[in-house]
Amino acid sequence: MDLNTLTAQDLLKKLDSKEISAQDILRSLEKSIKAQDTKFKAYVRTQDFHLPQQSIDYSKTTLKGIPVAIKDNICTEGFNTECCSKILEGFHPPYDATVVRKLKDAGAFIFPYKTNMDEFAFGSSTENSCFGPTRNPHNPECVPGGSSGGSAAAVASHQAIWALGSDTGGSIRQPAAFCGVVGLKPTYGLVSRYGLIAFASSLDQIGPITKDVSDCALLLSIIAGRDELDSTSVGSKGCDYSAYLEKDIKGMRIGIPREYFVEGIGPEVKKAVLDAIKVLEKLGAKCREVSLPHTEYAVPVYYIIATAEASSNLARFDGVHYCYVQKNPRLGVRPGGKTQDPAGNIRIITRLLRRLLFKGNAGQESHLSGFYQCL
């Protein structure tokens, strides 16, 4: 059995009994990445870094050296964190994101190459990366979803045991669904966002992408909890989510929002969801139809919040605070002047503009002024 195809929970058992070493897992993943990297492009900069040949002593840690793959918008000290954009080319954060530090403390090995994504997480297909698109491991003709498409594809194709992604408006859940793996957007505030390059601060969350639910619970238990470096994070102590998996679901009531079964839902998707409901009922849960009447407004509201906040958050890539001024003056602020687009990557420009327009328009025009007050 190839170690890269196992879950973290299975690997932990093998590591506990000393049947395998952390190095064995790394070698197995290395082989898998070598064989599939060009085909799926789940990772970026695989040529630029080498995996260590010797392992440090992980024996006293929780995760015992199990590797974890990290999305390119989560800061890893000393390793490229570029949001798959030329604007951040060559950026090596001088610190780790809180989630990365927590994983290191728990004895995880942090992969030196990062997973592919839509530039600055704007997108839902992982086609908008300056490194080129990620392909769906189940069918390379299909997209893996996005923006955490690299993380989802890496886990689905066994190039990673598990991974971290980020979700603002579906960027973990949708690629996880497209690639057939488990993805969770934690409740806002559960996981610290310190060191996550911000997109829309009142929506962003970091979360796990894993092969099964028990790995998801374990990874979430490690990264969750209050962090004084993120004032929006809540909860004082951690929680062992794995412990909840053992419990029976008999008698548990599950609400099925009527509005989620709208016209236009894919017939295969609908069938899969209804089948899942049947399984839950068979196990003793009581499924009841409920109504969430504001569902249809969620996406328009998301559009307003996400675009306005992205516009504020991306103001730091102005060629003064961040981004390489001399080499890449694309967004440089020069009164009266216009910037060039030397990278020729128009995608980020159009996406940015759509967002920038919103902020500009919202402030000036009567049409959006009512909404602007809310922001």
Partner: protein, 95 residues
């Protein structure tokens, strides 16, 4: 409110982004669609719905006044393409 090409051109100028005529057409069209989409919100009678400002009830989150390590200057300057002593060198932005 309609999005005109002039509006797009004006905001592109504010954002210091240069657009080709073809991109201008495409973006004006896309923006029109997005605004139409947002118009659906006008249906909501928001006055009848109690506002939720924040799910977490935290206000004024503060850190304790205790010393801790912070980023050292040399480390903070590592990513700078241009520096002078302990400072970043950036282009002059106010004439």
């Amino acid at each position: 409110m309609a999005i005109t090409k002039e509006t797009v051109e004006y905001v592109a100028h504010l954002a210091r982004i240069e657009l080709q005529p073809k991109e201008l057409d495409k973006l004006s069209e896309q923006l029109k669609q997005i605004l139409g989409f947002i118009d659906t919100l006008k249906k909501i009678e928001a006055a009848k719905i109690p506002p939720i400002l924040n799910l977490s009830q935290d206000t004024n989150v503060k850190r304790g006044d205790t010393p801790r390590n912070s980023l050292l200057t040399d480390k903070a300057l590592e990513n700078s393409p241009s520096k002078e002593g302990k400072f970043f060198v950036v282009p002059k932005i106010i004439e």
